[in-house]
Symmetry: C2
Subunit: 383 residues, 2 copies
């Protein structure tokens, strides 16, 4: 693939488009010899030894170290990913494969891609590759792939939890308990049932569909906005109504859930103006990406009460700095980026990453749905 | 009914059983003239005016004051329910009807029943009448009724929220956010998907069934223990397996949910011995009644880690004192008693209470499922 990359550069120099590279497709992953593979994960320290299935951390290293090293590959794992002197930077010039995650994202900028002369493959252990400059990766002839589907259930479950936490006003009650108080009225004056409320999802891809299926027995009014209308049978099974026009759907919603990737089109989608048109008292759940929101507009609307509750596990940037306004705004139910990295999710994305590495060593294609950048083209959801 | 009560006392003196009273059934609620009705609810103070639908508090008074007073009845409402000098005690000797709730329970003891010479009817605005000495009420010829079904959906939704909060280890992440931290590993080493886990409900009455229906799309292994096996069609629709022997079911469960009323049989059901036989790391959700648990045994098992998470909104007693051990035990997700008193639930149990009062004034029977004590007999779930 390094050869492919070189060939592509040459072709580009000759005026060819990167997407003309399809003749090379059969040999895309034909790659022999010892490889240098770098993984960037979150560090677990004292938690590493507390669960033998905890493979998603630096110490767990996806459980593939022995397998890689027994085949003669080098495997560097770190959590140190920021700044010019970080551990990651040391390995950029000669690494062949970089494994990252959305939970502790190593930001792969155009500048880093330029430095990474041997780089062939960027694997996301999980779902969501927006921490990578995908256009730069495509232009450089790199392959980017995710473990599509590996943690969709994990995220959908977490979204339903967050909807309920907001609708039912859980956290004020919890705070009373730990503070020695008891004041039912201070909770119940704005605690509701989910039943009968209008819930809309912005995006109904894999995660959005799983959420809608789990919402169905709650007897809500379910809406979805997506590029594509579902097949009629699936739509009926799920019981959700298609809304072609996002801005017509949003003001109908008591609860809005974000299930769209971060792209040029969705960055800052929920700005001050759009939030101002939402129902007063709307609840928002966002496990997709923090940058889909205008950070300050969300904080302001939570302060004014226009947004009555906001919950999610995604921030911009990550880790969120200590002074991030979402840490301090009223009526939030935020966590660090966690929904896709349950133990069950980790085991699935570790297995999927191993599978793709194995195929890469053997020169085989990946499962088609895993590709985010292939032969200079971005997957449709990122276009 | 005061006459009935007198007649019953006379019959008992003659050696008749209270349940021999059926000949009087037609006239059970024939009751004319001005009545004194007392309601005991939680006080809302500054929260009372924040939501026009907030009828479940002292200030809201179930929204029936004008209706009652326009018919010449007296309606006293208070939250002051404890001790010999409380407001409730002043009205016990001459009240005809007492309306209580499980959220701020007025404990109706045998002693209070003896003092309440005019008392005819005890209405629970909500579900769960264990704060009333039901045997004493039956012996005194009183009628006890609930608004059956009024907040079953509210409680079932809340249970599913609590299951997810525990399984997915939500609260440590939330604490990190508000404390300025970011440590994904400290959450994820014991965060799981609900999918594939074994969830068992102790009791599959109205609430238990609603919970199981909502759990179905999560692809769990669902078990239930109840006095009665469901009809095969319902069992198949819900997708849960009947477990006749409670102590055979419990050790199989990753998550246990309590959905049984508090009775002589269920009081202290989860004692040290039974908890010791549960799977290590079990999660328990209890929105039923606090006294079904041995308080200290639960706190000890949370401290040892045998119970990995405990969430519920019921305590013994209520309000929970400041030094209640469940406020301080690790890995809890407790709230004050709130799940059944959402705004939606309040509107339903207020309407159901008004309906029963109307029937009482007109001498009509209540909906059959609402009776907890009728003609000296306890409803089957309390026997």
């Amino acid at each position: 693939m390094a050869m492919l990359r070189a060939a592509k550069h040459a072709m580009r120099a000759l005026g060819s488009r990167a997407s003309d590279a399809s003749p090379f497709a059969r040999t895309l992953h034909a790659s022999t010899g010892s490889k240098k593979i770098v993984g960037v994960f979150y560090k677990a320290n004292e938690y590493a030894s507390m669960n033998p299935k905890f493979v998603g951390c630096v110490e767990g290293s996806l459980g593939i170290r022995d397998w890689l090293e027994s085949q003669g590959h080098q495997y560097i794992v770190t959590d140190d990913k920021e700044g010019p002197n970080c551990e990651l930077e040391k390995h950029i010039p000669d690494m062949h494969v970089l494994i990252t995650t959305p939970f502790h994202p190593a930001y792969v900028t155009e500048e880093r891609i330029k430095k990474a002369k041997n780089l062939q493959l960027l694997l996301t252990a999980g779902i969501g590759s927006d921490h990578i400059d995908l256009k730069a990766a495509a232009a450089a002839g790199l392959t980017v792939a995710e473990v599509t589907g590996s943690n969709t259930v994990s995220v959908a479950e977490d979204e339903l939890m967050r909807i309920l936490i907001l609708v039912r006003n859980f956290l004020p009650g919890y705070h009373q308990v730990i503070n020695g108080d008891w004041n039912v009225a201070a909770i119940s004056y704005r605690a509701y049932d989910l039943e009968g409320k209008t819930v809309g999802t912005v995006g109904a891809g894999r995660i959005g569909k799983l959420l809608l299926q789990r919402l169905k027995p709650f007897n809500c009014n379910l809406l979805y906005h997506d590029r594509l209308k579902m097949e009629p049978e699936l739509e009926q099974e799920i019981g959700a109504k298609f809304e072609e026009d996002l801005d017509k759907m949003l003001p109908k919603c008591d609860v809005i859930v974000i299930n769209t990737p971060l792209t040029e089109k969705t960055r800052g989608l929920f700005n001050k103006e759009r939030i101002g048109k939402l129902k007063k008292g709307v609840l928002i759940v966002n496990n997709a990406r923090g940058a889909i929101m205008d950070t300050q507009a969300v904080a302001d609307a939570c302060s004014s009460g226009h947004i009555a509750g906001y919950s999610g596990d995604v921030w911009n940037p990550q880790p969120a700095p200590k002074d991030h306004p979402w840490r301090y705004m009223p009526n939030h139910a935020m966590t660090p980026h966690i929904s896709g990295t349950t133990i069950d999710g980790q085991l699935r994305y570790a297995a999927g990453t191993k599978d793709m590495l194995d195929r890469y060593f053997k020169g085989q294609d990946f499962p088609a749905q895993n590709y985010i950048v292939k032969e200079g083209k971005l997957a449709s959801q990122y276009q």
